[in-house]
């Protein structure tokens, strides 16, 4: 089972990082933020109802993600950000009320613990299979549509003018992201899962300005740092999600400082 958990963390980290690259480049970050909390609310309600951990989170996050994705081209970024933040507050409060309403004893169970700070025990065989399938489908999709996605990343408006349906490609990415969030939510923890979307991308832009290499760096970083954080959480006996997020964030800060020092030394020498 340990191998399955390890592979799930490698593959899950890779998938979230690749998705995060496109989410950030396509300006969908606030949608991802609120979608992650919609999944959290769904998972919290599912835990009270003792239902399966996928259906309700998937319904809520896809519902929100797709609504915001449809609104996206029809509104300004400011309005979209405000809407996303409003939904973030709404679903966050629903999640916390649902956890509060559940029996206190339940708080110590794997399920609710997973919601809050993540748990490697949330990796079941079926979750492992879903993560593998989603990652394979997503990577195949990336290979098939890379040229179109590149054109959108380069210039959304120009891509639209040249006949690429930008909204369609954005909604597909949002859909992948919502499903990935649902699958990784209880492993990493609802409050920190989106850090695996953003931080690998941030690291990639610190390391290089080349867009084609950024995707590779973000993916590699996510795939390496996620199991490393989980391993450290086992050694230190700390919550898995917080430890992964801490390691991911600290690594990003160290890489940034190293790059700055390297730049200063290069100029000095």
């Amino acid at each position: 089972m340990l191998e399955i958990i390890f592979i799930s963390l490698v593959i899950g980290g890779l998938m979230l990082a690749l998705l995060g690259y496109y989410i950030s480049k396509l300006g969908l970050s606030t949608i991802a933020f609120s979608a992650a909390h919609a999944a959290l609310a769904g998972a919290a309600i599912s835990s009270i109802l003792n239902s399966d951990p996928y259906t309700l989170p998937a319904i809520l996050t896809l519902f929100l993600g797709l609504i915001l994705g449809v609104i996206l081209p029809r509104t300004s970024i400011e309005v979209l950000n405000n809407l996303s933040m409003m939904f973030f507050s709404l679903f966050n409060s629903i999640a916390l009320i649902a956890i509060y309403l559940s029996n206190v004893v339940v708080l110590s169970t794997t399920r609710v613990g997973g919601l809050l700070w993540g748990s490697p025990l949330a990796v079941t065989i079926d979750r492992f299979v879903y993560i593998m399938i989603l990652t394979c489908v997503f990577i195949t999709y990336l290979m098939l549509t890379r040229s179109k996605l590149d054109a959108i990343v380069f210039d959304k408006k120009l891509a639209e003018a040249e006949g690429i349906n930008v909204q369609f490609y954005s909604i597909v990415i949002i859909t992948f992201m919502c499903i990935a969030l649902v699958l990784m939510l209880e492993v990493i923890g609802g409050f920190l899962v989106f850090s695996l979307l953003y931080v690998p991308y941030i690291v990639s832009i610190i390391v290089t300005s080349r867009a084609d290499i950024q995707l590779v760096i973000a993916g590699l970083f996510g795939a390496i740092i996620t199991p490393l954080g989980a391993f450290l959480s086992l050694i230190l006996d700390t919550p898995i999600g917080s430890t992964i997020a801490l390691i991911v964030s600290l690594s990003a800060i160290i890489i940034y400082i190293t790059k700055k020092i390297h730049g200063v030394l290069k100029n000095f020498i």
């Binding site: 179109k148 054109a151 120009l158 639209e160 003018a161 040249e162 006949g163 300005s209 867009a211």
Partner: protein
């Protein structure tokens, strides 16, 4: 009369939260093998008109057709694949790392099916266009490192390499030095005639060469067409 490539019938366009229409009562029909210049002062609606023709902005009243397809139809993407657009705000940040070749190739790959790569014919076309625009030695340079004039030539190359039926150029000479404007004007004119294309050029300055080759000059003011000189179709 040749087939109409662009049709606007009694078109009104407005921006969100702004009551005053950006375009009012626009009637415009442009046929094939036509080079049309749209001019007018700042804020007169020239760029809005171009984006409306492409369907990037939808009219709240009236009908817009591009290559016979209404811009409100889902099939507009099919029409757009046969068009090229050079935007007014083309400047990339100094950190933009796509090379000139990648930027030009993107426009070709985006109209191809998935997993398609550039054919020898595509590469030949890219080489020809960049040579005509004098940027053949910049192909491996990151676009962000280029000057404004060089970047504008790259975007023009990107537009021409697709061999579009309709070419939308928004202020294509804004960063080009005066000596080169004539050469680029002639290049655009040659393309229009050779490919039987339709070219719409938004420009608030009309140079001598442009006024000589243009089939029609459309003047806009306050979102309205106030004057049309020449033949649109």
């Amino acid at each position: 009369m040749g087939s109409l490539r662009i049709e606007l019938k009694n078109v009104y366009v407005t921006y969100q939260d702004i009551e005053r229409p950006a375009l009012k009562k626009i009637n415009l029909h442009v046929g094939e093998n036509r080079l049309v210049v749209i001019t007018g002062p700042n804020g007169s609606g020239k760029t809005t008109l171009l984006e409306t023709c492409l369907g990037l902005l939808k009219p709240f009243k009236g009908l817009v057709k591009l290559l016979g397809i209404p811009t409100t139809s889902r099939r507009i993407y099919v029409a757009r694949r046969q068009c090229s657009y050079l935007p007014q705000n083309f400047m990339r940040s100094p950190y933009e790392s796509y090379t000139v070749k990648q930027v030009i190739a993107m426009s070709l790959l985006s109209i191809k099916s998935s997993l398609s790569t550039l054919t020898p014919d595509d590469l030949c076309r890219i080489r020809t266009v960049v040579k005509l625009l004098g940027i053949e030695n910049l192909l491996s340079e990151p676009i962000g490192k280029l000057s404004g004039g060089q970047q504008q030539r790259v975007f023009l190359a990107r537009a021409l390499v697709r061999e579009p039926l309709v070419l939308f150029l928004d202020e294509p000479f804004s960063s080009i030095d005066p000596e080169s404007r004539e050469h680029i004007t002639l290049l655009i004119n040659e393309y229009t005639r050779e490919k039987n294309a339709t070219t719409l050029i938004v420009s608030h300055i009309i140079n001598k060469e442009l006024s000589r080759v243009a089939d029609a000059v459309v003047t806009m003011s306050n979102g309205e067409l106030v004057d049309v000189v020449g033949n649109l179709y």
